[in-house]
């Protein structure tokens, strides 16, 4: 419960009231003065002074001086009149309470209005500074533009001047050339009247130096020659970009892995070496064996590779070639057919492989003397590549053979 202060004193002039409150050893800093136009509260714990003015004061212009053990408040009156008394008459609690509440409300409104005006003022200032900045930058930009435009003007003028000079020089050249040809004509006619002396060119060509080169003979064209080059190998047809290299490597790795792993459920292969599980490696081995003539071993290699991965058409193709060499013609036909099945859909990429498959199957058919089927296959091969000479000549031979005009021979040449 605060202690009410009663020992304050007050004096008045027509326009103001002077209120003196002894501070009773309170710290001046801890004195809180709250005033509206009809209520005043001075609070220095534990003391409290409340004054309900009988008439209105102007709290905006009132001043409080706190120090030296007293607080002196100079309150300006709203109306210049002598007051009968400082406080209002009756002290009905309700009235007092309502006055207090009103005072608090008023104080709040005032502070809200204050802060609003302050914010508006700040915004005004910001806008102003912004506009100023923009104007300055505009000015700078215009300067630069002007500089550029000046440069352009100057460059254009120079260009024009240079062009004019070129034209004039060209005209001078023309005039001089004409004069020289005239002179030469005169001189020629003159000298032809005299003894034929060598007409050493008195016409000194004072043209640009490059013309002298015209007089010097140009070297003969070089002898044609070819230089063979090799490129850094690259699998993809697109250009090499550093940022794509990791993606490309990953793709290649995935392709290689996919080809390895399609049938790893063959338990009998557990004792094979790592190399021998790789169908690509096996294919290479088979190719080498084929080239050296060891067809049976090649077939074995291809068999193993096919066990590992049934979907590689090249394996069937190569095995077909081996079978033809070994005269296992039915097997050859089977393998070529399987290769062709795997090579669907028919695109440009596997045209090569498909042609090989057709040719091999055709060869096998012809060896079996089923020439009609053989011819069909050769025709299919020709459809893919109509310009292949060997295939063309073989197809011709078969056709003639069928028509019975060629009695002997000929298994067509084996072009693998």
């Amino acid at each position: 419960m605060p202690l009410l202060v009663k020992d304050y004193s007050w004096t008045q002039t027509p326009s103001s009231i002077c209120l003196t409150i002894p501070l009773k050893r309170a710290n001046p800093r801890k004195v809180d003065v709250f005033a509206t136009d009809e209520y005043l509260k001075v609070h220095f714990p534990p003391f409290l002074l409340e004054v309900f003015f009988s008439e209105a004061i102007d709290d905006d212009t009132s001043v409080a001086k706190i120090g030296n053990g007293v607080a002196v408040l100079t309150l300006r009156k709203k109306e210049d009149r002598m007051w009968e008394q400082l406080t209002i008459d009756d002290a009905d609690k309700e009235i007092l309470k309502s006055i207090r509440e009103r005072a608090v409300l008023k104080a709040q409104e005032k502070s809200a209005a204050d802060s609003k005006t302050r914010a508006e003022k700040k915004q005004e200032e910001n806008k102003y500074t912004l506009e100023k900045m923009m104007k300055i930058e505009e000015g700078q930009r215009n300067n630069i533009e002007k500089l550029k435009a000046d440069e352009r003007e100057r460059a254009t003028a120079e260009l024009e001047a240079w062009k004019l000079q070129q034209k004039r020089e060209a005209e001078k050249e023309e005039a001089r050339k004409n004069r020289q040809t005239q002179e030469q004509k005169i001189q020629l006619s003159y000298t032809s009247q005299l003894s034929p002396t060598k007409n050493t060119g008195t016409a000194k060509y004072q043209r640009k130096d490059c013309d002298k080169k015209n007089l010097a003979p140009l070297p003969a064209p070089r002898a044609p020659c070819t230089i063979k080059i090799q490129f850094t190998p690259r699998v993809f047809p697109t250009a090499l970009r550093e940022s794509r290299v990791p993606e490309e490597e990953e793709w290649l790795k995935k392709q290689a892995d996919a080809r390895r792993q399609t049938s790893t459920d063959v338990s009998a292969l557990n004792d094979l070496k790592e190399d021998e599980r790789n169908p690509d490696w096996l294919k290479e081995k088979g190719n080498k064996l084929f080239v050296t003539g060891n067809y049976l071993a090649a077939v074995n290699a291809y068999n193993l590779a096919i066990q590992l991965n049934r979907k590689i058409p090249a394996l069937y193709l190569n095995r077909a070639a081996c079978h033809i060499k070994l005269k296992n013609l039915h097997k050859a036909i089977e393998d070529s057919s399987q290769a062709l099945d795997l090579l669907l859909p028919a695109v440009a990429d596997n045209a090569d492989a498909r042609m090989k498959a057709y040719v091999r199957r055709g060869t096998a058919f012809c060896e079996l003397e089923l020439y009609a089927e053989g011819l069909q296959d050769y025709d299919a091969a020709l459809k893919i590549d109509p310009y292949n000479q060997t295939v063309l000549s073989d197809a011709e031979k078969i056709r003639q053979f069928i028509q019975g005009s060629m009695p002997d021979h000929l298994a067509p040449e084996k072009n693998m």
Partner: protein
């Protein structure tokens, strides 16, 4: 060179919108005209000659041809004749007299596929020796032609039979300091740069720069090889010091990743061989030294200094050509069907 007013400025002087895709633009030597080459939407090739006059360009002549034209050069003609050699989409090499463009002065079916790039040497009063034209194509071959010899290339750099072919994207002549010596440098899409010596008809040096090579250029064609700039995809370019070749390490180089994407062209300033412009930043190479590495010389490429840059268009600028007559004037063409004439100022203070 530190204050901004001292740096060279790149100013766009003239901008002309065209109604066709323009692939290449070249100044006609000793004149204020340039040629733009490209193709119309209807699939025919076109060459247009423009003249720069008082802040504007106006069309002097338009020549339409059957096949789209990809590239051209004036490098192999004399200053009086000023014939342009062009490569087109069909693999043909033609040399045209622009005054009488109906029939080519020289024509040969150079390649089986599109001629991607062309360069000429021996003309224009620069360099000694016979005029020669080199073309590079998508079929992986680089061929050198002499306009006096019909149908047969003077040199043919082709892949070994059976090898996969890589596109050749750029070619450049260099090292043509006397009658006999010539070098051709070719860049391919798999990052290979190969240097061929035409005197010995051999491969002199090759290197792979890990990104497809878009453009190579020597700093001067008519001197002993000094510097070679090679630009590539991914915004990289390399500058090689070609004066000293180490037996194993090749040529020394400095490289920089200066752009966010493909550097399409590089061109050296004809008047100052240490300044070059990549599209479209302007670079200055300062000082190439040679160091001795033990008892074998090894070159040291110097340092690069970016002088200025400018963004002209959202589309790549595919071709760039400095005017040999006026320092700082250049014409460039971009894939936004526009050709621009630029002025670069303060180059004499570089």
């Amino acid at each position: 060179m530190s204050t901004p007013s001292e740096k060279p400025q790149i100013i766009s002087h003239i901008h002309k919108s065209l109604n066709y895709t323009v692939f290449d633009s070249k100044w006609i030597p000793c004149s204020a005209k340039f040629v733009c080459m490209g193709n119309f939407a209807r699939g025919t090739g076109v060459m247009q000659i423009y003249e720069v006059e008082r802040g504007e360009v106006h069309l002097v002549k338009e020549i339409e041809k059957a096949k789209p034209i990809k590239c051209g050069t004036f490098g192999a003609t004399s200053l009086q004749q000023r014939h342009i050699a062009t490569g087109d989409f069909d693999g043909n090499l033609h040399i045209w007299n622009l005054e009488v463009p109906d029939v080519p002065v020289y024509s040969v079916k150079a390649h089986k596929e599109i001629v991607n790039c062309i360069d000429g040497v021996g003309g224009l009063g620069i360099g000694d020796g016979a005029p020669e034209i080199v073309t590079g194509s998508r079929d992986g071959t680089v061929k050198v032609w002499d306009p006096r010899q019909k149908d047969l290339p003077v040199a043919n750099m082709e892949p070994v039979e059976g090898e996969a072919r890589r596109d050749c994207w750029t070619v450049a002549f260099g090292h043509a300091f006397n009658d006999q010596d010539r070098c051709v440098c070719a860049g391919y899409d798999n990052g290979d740069i190969k240097l061929f010596d035409l005197r010995n008809m051999s491969l002199r040096w090759e290197k792979n720069i890990k990104n497809g090579v878009c453009c190579v250029e020597f700093d001067r064609k008519d001197i002993s090889m000094n510097k070679l700039v090679a630009t590539s995809l991914e915004g990289n370019f390399h500058v090689f010091d070609m004066r000293t070749q180490h037996p194993t390490k090749g040529f020394a180089s400095v490289s920089e990743k200066a752009h966010k994407s493909t550097v399409w062209q590089v061109r050296h300033l004809p008047q100052n061989r240490d300044v070059f412009m990549t599209t479209v930043h302007l670079f200055f190479l300062y000082g190439c030294r040679c160091e001795t590495d033990g008892d074998v010389d090894m070159g040291v490429a110097g340092t690069l200094n970016l002088l200025q840059n400018i963004t002209l268009s959202t589309q790549p600028i595919a071709s760039l050509d400095w005017s040999p007559d006026k320092q700082g004037l250049c014409v460039c063409s971009a894939f936004d069907q526009a050709v621009r004439v630029l002025i670069v100022t303060k180059l004499n203070r570089v």
